[in-house]
Each structure stands twice: as C-alpha cells, then as structure tokens.
Amino acid sequence: MAGESQSRIPSGPAISLPSVLVVFLLLAAASYGALIKAPEEATMGLIQRIFYFHVSSAWSGFVAFILVFIGSIAYLRTRALKWDWLSVASAEVGVAFFTVVLVTGPIWAKPVWGIWWTWDARLTSSFLLWVLFVSYLILRTLVDEPERRAMVSAVFGIFAALDIPLVYFSIWWFRTQHPQPVIGNGGSLDGRMWRVLMLCWAATLGVMSLLIRIRYRLEAMRMEVDALRLEASRHTR
C-alpha cells in the first residue's frame, strides 16, 4: 500500500436516490404481483406465493457468485484491489440471498411436504453452496494483509465457483429420486406466474446491486482508513 498514490473516495452516498427509488418501485410491484396479482396455485394454495421470492433470491444469489468468480479472475489478472472489493461484496450479498433461500425453503416445505427439510438434490446443493461461500468469507477474516488476502481469496473464489456446476451435477445424479423442478425440464408454469417471477427477479437483482455497491464502498473506505492510519503513524514517529 505504502507509496502508492491512493485515489480518494468521493464523498456522498454510495447509491444514488433515483436508483433507490427504482428498486423500491420494483419491489413494491413485485410484492403486489406475488402476493395479490398472481393466480393462486391449485394444490398448494397461499403458501406457494413464497415461491416468487424464494426462486428469485436463489437466481440473484447465483448472479452474485458469478460476480465473485469474475472479480477473482480480474483481480489475479490486473492486481487492482477494486476487483477484490467486488468479490467480497458479491460473496457477502450472495450468502445473504442464499440464507433467504434456505429460510424460505423450509417455510414453504413444511405445509406442503409436511417436513421442514429433506435431503433432495436442490436443497442439498443450495446448502453446500452456502457453506462453500461461508468458507470463503471465513478465509477472508483469517488473512490480515490486504494484498495477500485478495490473492488467496481470489484463488479460492475461483475454485469455489468452478465447483458450483460440479456440485449440482453430482448431487443431481446422486439423488435421482428428486422431485422434478417446475421450471425448465418441460415443467409447466402458468404464464402469469412466469411474468410475476421475472418481475420478482428484477426486483431482487435491483436489491442485490444496491447492496453490492454499498458493501463495495464500505470495503474501499476500510482500505482508505487503513492507508491513512499507516500514513499518520509514519508522520507521528
């Protein structure tokens, strides 16, 4: 860090008011769509409405983990710490979204399947994915020096991201008795339900990008504080 010319972070909020407004409107529309507008599912009834947020959180979580992958590769290629900030911000937000998935899942499962949890392919792989990126975040807390932390976590981030498809395929083939997913694989989802789901996904993606931007800036500020502290200690000596 020392000696490097540090660009100061501009003052002002991390996210602009219009972007917050857009995301807020999207969320309001998505909630209206999911809770009121979407047709009631024939067999599961009211509880099925949790599906819109459950699935869209999972998809957004995936996007966040892909950002970890991109940020990690870009960091190793360029050595610009901003890519590391993107990785850590995305990993934390991704873990938060997958926590939402793992909490809303059992809430939905209990009334429908009669049990909170079952070791089926989707649940197991989501759980494993969550653990994988929690490990990534723990690794980050155990390395102090910023450049070294960025480097080792970038390598682990790449390996963890590459593991995602392997985890999914292996558990898929292992748990062949899993219930067929409703989306893709020829499953049928009502057209209106599709549109509401897409709206929900747009809203959660909006929330995700706001959170990542805030967290990104927090990381940038932490680095700046560290650098300033270092500078100050050099002057007082």
């Binding site: 494993l128 723990i138 690794l139 390395v143 080792v152 970038a154 790449i158 593991d163 083939w173 292992f174």
Partner: protein
C-alpha cells in the same frame, strides 16, 4: 528446464524429504485406522450393510486424512523458509505446485492402498475380484483430492488458524468427489458389480477442471 523435468525434480525432493522421516505416512495410516474403528461403533458392520455404507465411510476417512495430511505440504517450506529458494530457481513456477501435487497424490494413494485390505478384512468385503477398477476409482478420486488439497494447502498456509481452515476449505469443494467415488465404489461392490461410466467420467472431469484451474491460477499462490 522443461516443465516435466522440473516437476520431476520437485517430486523427487518431496519424496526424499518424506522417506527420510516417514512421519507423515505412518501417522496418516494410523489416523485412518482410528477413524475406521470409530465408524464401526456407529452401525453394525455386517456384510450386507457394510456394502452399502462402507465405501462412503472409507471415502470420508480418506478425505479427512487428506485434509490433515496435505497440511505440511506448504507449512514445511514456510517453517524452513525454503519456498523463497524454490521460487528463485529458474523453473516454471507451476512445476513447484505440480511436483507437490504429484507427491501428495502418491502419498495419499499409498495410504489408501495400505488401508484397502485392512478395510476389506474388517468390514468383510471381497475386493479382490474388482481390484483393478477399484484402484482406478481410487486413483481418479485421489487426483482430485491431491490437486485441490495442494492448492488449498498453499492458501491455508498464508492464513491464521490454518489447521482448522484447510478442512473447512477443502471438504465442501470435495463433496462432488466424495459422491462420485462413493457411488462408483458401491457400484463395484454390488452384486453383480459394475463400473459406472457416469461416475468415472465425472471424476475425470473434476480432475481436469481443477488441474486446469491450478495450472492457470495456482502459481499466484507462490508469490511473496
């Protein structure tokens, strides 16, 4: 020096270091034995049951053993300050990693081959008729374990709490290897036994993916 040549040199160095002390292999073998004994308390290891659970337990024991055994791979260099010397050598930096991977692969495979007959006797499983495909499964699974394990050993060596950190990083990433190797082994021990093409292909692709990733990104870990 070519990559193959320098990798062989590093491999020879690793083997020499280990076979002068022989502490790593012996300790790991005893560790897995303890795990196998402890597993026998969790269920009744009669023949029919052990065919179903045995391979999974064996592979879990191997993964645990790997996550402990791969620890010194980079710690030893760090303690003796020899990694800097290795890096100064005029060789492709990847060959340091590749040599260590090859050495760790051989150590782990050796431990597994020593323990396989013990496991077969204790859990009353006939392995002789399927020995060749079983060794293939062991080898493919162990390549994945050694590849990711060596890379993560370099990662963990740079962190605090490294002894706890390595299993934490390694085991979730290796979950696909556990599933694939266990399923392949269960298939082999079934009557009639079959070598699952799906799982062999899967293990091979796991190995290829992570070997490539280690080749592309692993050498960054060797920087100071």
């Amino acid at each position: 020096m070519s990559l193959a040549h320098s990798t062989a040199t590093i491999l020879a160095k690793e083997l020499r270091t280990e076979f002068r002390s022989r502490e790593l292999l012996g300790t790991t073998v005893v560790f897995v034995l303890i795990v196998i004994v402890l597993f026998s308390f969790t269920f009744n290891p009669t023949s029919s049951e052990s065919r179903r659970f045995g391979p999974g337990l064996l592979w879990i024991a191997f993964l645990f053993a790997g996550s402990l055994m791969l620890q010194p791979s980079f710690l030893r260099e760090q303690a003796n300050d020899t990694l800097a010397a290795l890096r100064l050598a005029p060789i492709d930096p990847f060959s340091i990693l590749a040599g260590k991977m090859a050495a760790n692969f051989l150590f782990l495979l050796l431990v597994e081959l020593i323990l396989l007959p013990v496991f077969a006797v204790l859990y009353n499983i006939a392995i002789l008729p399927v020995l060749a495909p079983l060794v293939l499964v062991l080898a493919l699974g162990t390549v994945g374990l050694a590849t990711t394990g060596t890379v993560f050993s370099a990662v963990a060596a740079q962190a605090r709490l490294r002894e706890l950190l390595l299993p934490l990083l390694l085991l979730p990433v290796l979950a696909p290897v556990l599933i694939a190797s266990t399923e392949a082994t269960v298939g082999l021990l079934r009557d009639p036994s079959e070598l699952s093409r799906v799982w062999i292909t899967f293990l091979t692709s796991f190995d290829v993916v992570f070997l490539t990733a280690a080749w592309l990104f692993g050498e960054y870990l060797l920087e100071e």
